[in-house]
Symmetry: C2
Subunit: 338 residues, 2 copies
DNA sequence: TTGTACGCGTTATCAC
DNA sequence: GTGATAACGCGTACAA
């Protein structure tokens, strides 16, 4: 007879059916030391479990072991394509390591980030991945508290230490500067993300330092701080390009900004790259189809997940470690726009 | 003195500090019937909790109540922009309703979907949102089991019933057909998603039926089944356009396909819309910046989250309900490409 | 209005 | 090898 609301079987049910104690069931199914139970009982238990379609409750296990087999990913903007790709890559890698993923949107807001960190703690979640971290009180507290933690893209804000996965932002910025110089784009500007974010800061510093080494200085009016969205890029580009001395080239903090800048240029009747050169950062997956013209720094985002998962595994093995940094190789994707 | 690994305080700690029993603490903090405790004890408890920075363990609560305050979102392809936008919209709406979100990538694979459904069950997760469901054994079992469940975009496969949030796919397909007819694009084709997916099926049926009503028949060679990616769209478009009778216009199953079709057309030296008209579906957020030329069916994706959250809330209130359908308004965004 | 005591499903510790 | 049993942190029926 089919009852619609059959309760899930528990260890106890399996134990009864297999004629053993709950302890044995747990031992067999958790696959501890195979010397701790005989092969035949093991078979009996497994058979019973299979027949009742038993699935251990992750809830019970989590409570007992004080750790849920899940990781939380905090991103600053779920709709940003780069973030979405990181999420995708990480979700796959975590799944392969037996971890579920909880996705949290911090919207660059320290309060929201803290609220999520509290929730994460109260759920016993055993690993935290911060893609685009912001400074916040709970972050400091938790980073001291031993939960495995990996920072992606942006390095942790100052007192906080932790593993990092990203690219050599400074080097990449310098590479773009080299390219601009080789093209004769001395008359250039940068529309970059907030300097409170390490990644944005490093990209800008690498860029302007290299320019400086060749006698080109990036004056303050040519360093525009912006949100990392097409909307913001569009707005700032309009202002910049309709000013009294519009630049010949713009280095953008990410591809999203570059999309907005491009649109602004087109709207204003400028030709890219003849009138304005544009350089992005990230090389979003969709570029191949929708922005094949965009010169940008290629970031191997699909490799981020595995790198992060690897570090989390290392950390969970315990033992004192120095914070590690994994720098994935970037490259310049030189296309039409610059 | 600052201990680095202070254990989290529990109800018991708070109770001791406030000189009450654990029951009282629980009652006060859960905000049950305010008649069940005096205002002054309540204040004492809250003060103690605040001072110790007490956060209830969601794990303990979940185990006790057999329901975690979280929802799972299953998507067929995390990197698809439409899915990402649904995820973003839903995450916000859930958060406002006090629910966390677990993100699961099924990759259109029934086995993966089932693995996730098992996990979800074992975590006591109280709500399931399936964006782009596929048919699978566990789905049938769980849909009978009372867990609140909402289907997004694609209606549930046949024996399964459940609430639905999406657009009138059939009507939208017909609208596109009308537009094609008004433009004189009788000589057209469709590159659509798998017919096993209700949404793809309905879009195609609406489109071809309306054409048929005007004496235009969409022959089999002009109905191309495709994955919902730019890569697949590109591949199929190349084949179609280099065949002996290339169509004058193509209706695509979603914007991703349309991006690939567009690229194929450009690569082959065709002008859009002069040589080939293209119509998409979804109106991805990025279109404004990267594909402002794409005519497409606008879907109000940012409203999906609230709609889903609303249905989940209704369902969790219990009581027998007939499956509800929420159809959000679509519209044709007529731009250059068609 | 408050407190005591039990149970949610699991794993770990101890006996045997 | 295996079995009782005690936690984990919480909510709640019941008693006071």
């Amino acid at each position: 007879m089919l009852s619609t609301t059959t309760k899930r079987p528990t260890v106890e049910d399996v134990a009864r059916k297999a004629n053993v104690s709950v302890a044995t069931v747990s031992r067999v199914l958790a696959n501890v030391d195979p010397r701790r139970f005989s092969a035949e009982t093991a078979e009996r238990v497994r058979k019973a479990a299979r027949e009742m379609n038993y699935q251990p409750s992750e809830l019970g296990r989590s409570l007992r072991t004080a750790t849920a087999r899940a990781a939380a990913l905090l991103v600053p903007d779920t709709t940003n394509e780069f973030c979405a790709d990181v999420a995708s890559s990480l979700e796959g890698a975590l799944q392969r390591n037996g971890l579920s993923m909880m996705l949290c949107n911090t919207a660059e807001d320290p309060a929201k980030q803290d609220a999520y960190l509290e929730q994460i703690e109260s759920r016993g979640i055993s690993a935290i991945v911060l893609q685009g971290v912001v400074e916040s009180p709970a972050l400091l507290r938790m980073s001291a508290g031993g939960t495995p933690m990996v920072f992606v893209s942006r390095r942790p804000p100052d007192p906080v230490k932790g593993d990092f996965v990203g690219v050599d932002n400074r080097g990449a910025g310098a590479d773009v500067a080299d390219h601009f110089l080789s093209k004769g784009y001395e008359d250039c500007a940068a529309i970059h993300g907030s300097l409170r974010y390490a990644a944005s800061r490093e990209r800008l510093i690498g860029f302007s330092e290299r320019l400086g080494q060749h006698g080109v200085s990036l004056v303050a009016e040519r360093r525009i701080q912006s949100q990392l969205t097409p909307e913001a890029g569009h707005r700032h580009a309009r202002a910049l390009l309709s000013g009294k001395s519009p630049p010949r080239a713009i280095f953008c903090g990410n591809d999203s900004i570059a999309y907005g800048v491009y649109r602004a240029a087109i709207d204003m009747g400028l030709r890219v790259p003849n009138d304005l050169a544009i350089f992005g950062f990230d090389d979003n997956r969709l570029n191949r189809w929708l922005a094949p013209w965009l010169s940008t720094v290629h970031v191997p985002v699909s490799d981020f997940g595995e790198a992060v998962a690897g570090l989390l595994k290392e950390q969970s093995l315990g033992g004192k470690r120095e914070p590690r940094t994994v720098l994935l190789p970037h490259s310049l994707a030189i296309r039409e726009s610059a």
